[in-house]
Symmetry: C2
Subunit: 267 residues, 2 copies
């Protein structure tokens, strides 16, 4: 893996934040505009999520093409672009589409940077609230309504004290995985649903101890890996593998807790 | 029911907003401070939710006592206070304690005003985001990051097109109620969890069509009734009764949809 020079790193972090700013100009004006025009057919309605998603990804890709045409790009809405550089941007303009549809401001724009396949920089941006989580090899931090601060995961290791989060328990369609999730849920002190990528950032911030979701795509998780890992957390698939290609993912606050959780999920 | 003179109404709305401002000074500094000090025992930990809840209710009650000692007060954390006036404030300093604990900014301060038992004014305030929903006999509105606007529910009437929300499907402990909730869930186009009082405000805003929760207390719902009703929505218990004392509550975007939903929930 390349080790960036610190000025190159700073420049790439700044560029990642620019991409988040550009996405926000497309997403925020579409948020909370989902008042149905008629009640005849949902299919005939204007779909602000898809429109905002595509407009934001288009704008991000244009900016990358203009400034770093050598960088590769993967995103939710459009075809992969292969550049000559070992760097690849992995984009999800609106992670948490259900939240966007219902008007809850916990959706986010996710911007990750892979270096030869390894997550190096991640940005999670919630522009309605004005809160942004950033992970880099030099640490993870948040900027938002309460100012800026560094992120650090919790040291808690007992399952019985842990706070668990998942986007939607009904997403565990596989009966075995659903049973394993509920076995975990019954052990922890508190479980919470409906947070999407926010949950992984709040794990990095020391608020949550375990986050798990099935069926994630690479663009759902790549940006979150540097935020989690550079705050002290661990993120893998349920069988302990790399999270970089998505799948059924679990993040925990520390290595000791991760081992306990993987054992329990294995059944 | 008394009909307020419009200057009396404006003064009471302003006072309700002052109470929300006062609560925010207590709650926001405690938000996202839940990093465990040790990992030995959760019980021994500092509990910022309870501390913030009590401090905010104390501050609200002091302000009411100083300016309107004749008003009655009911709140989550302290004993009822009976004044000489037919007006009663109903308070929940932090609705959505799970959200507060995990650091997701969808908790809210709820401030409702009953006039001889009927909800007349409601404020739902989310001070981290800086978003406030207000309902009065003159209409409902929101003020927040996108500016101010009036609230209006959706006209959608077909269940198959509807968006459903509930705080947590596992809260339906009663097997019959759980079965009826899932019968509803299977009919709608989208369901979403983990929003607490935000969901009722977003129903008022035309984003969500049906919100239902079991086991609500009066202080969970009283403030939301004026926000919902003055935006065109309907809120009752599952058997069509008044929501003022809490219970198993359902709110819908309009009367036609409400009838359909109550029929389905009755089984």
């Amino acid at each position: 893996m390349t080790s960036f020079a610190s000025d190159e790193l700073a420049e790439l972090v700044e560029f990642a934040e620019e991409l988040a700013d550009i996405a926000a100009r497309e997403t925020v004006p579409m948020f909370r505009t989902n008042i149905a025009i008629d009640n005849k057919s949902r299919k005939a309605q204007f779909d602000p999520v898809t429109a905002a998603d595509r407009a934001a990804e288009r704008a991000i890709r244009d900016h990358i093409a203009a400034h770093h045409p050598e960088h590769s790009v993967r995103g939710e809405e459009m075809d992969d672009y292969a550049g000559s550089s070992p760097l690849t941007w992995v984009l999800d303009p609106i992670d948490g589409t259900k939240a966007f549809i219902v008007g809850i401001p916990v959706w986010a724009t996710l911007i990750g940077l892979l270096d030869r396949g390894a997550p190096r920089i991640g940005v999670m941006d919630q522009p309605f609230i004005g809160e942004r989580f950033v992970g880099t090899p030099q640490g993870s931090y948040v900027q938002g309504p309460l100012g800026a601060r560094r992120l650090q995961t919790r040291e808690l290791t007992r399952l019985e004290d842990a706070v668990l989060a998942t986007s939607d328990p009904h997403n565990f369609h596989d009966p075995w995985a659903s049973a394993r999730f509920h076995a975990l849920r019954e052990r922890v002190t508190l479980s919470r649903y409906g947070g999407d990528s926010y949950f992984y950032c709040l794990l990095a911030a020391g608020q949550i101890d375990i986050v798990t979701d099935p069926g994630l795509d690479d663009y759902d998780i790549v940006a979150l890996v540097p935020i989690i890992e550079n705050a002290g957390g661990i993120v893998t698939t349920w069988d302990g593998g790399s999270p970089v290609n998505g799948g059924t993912i679990v993040a925990t606050a520390n290595a000791a807790l991760h081992e306990t959780v993987l054992d329990l999920l294995a059944g």
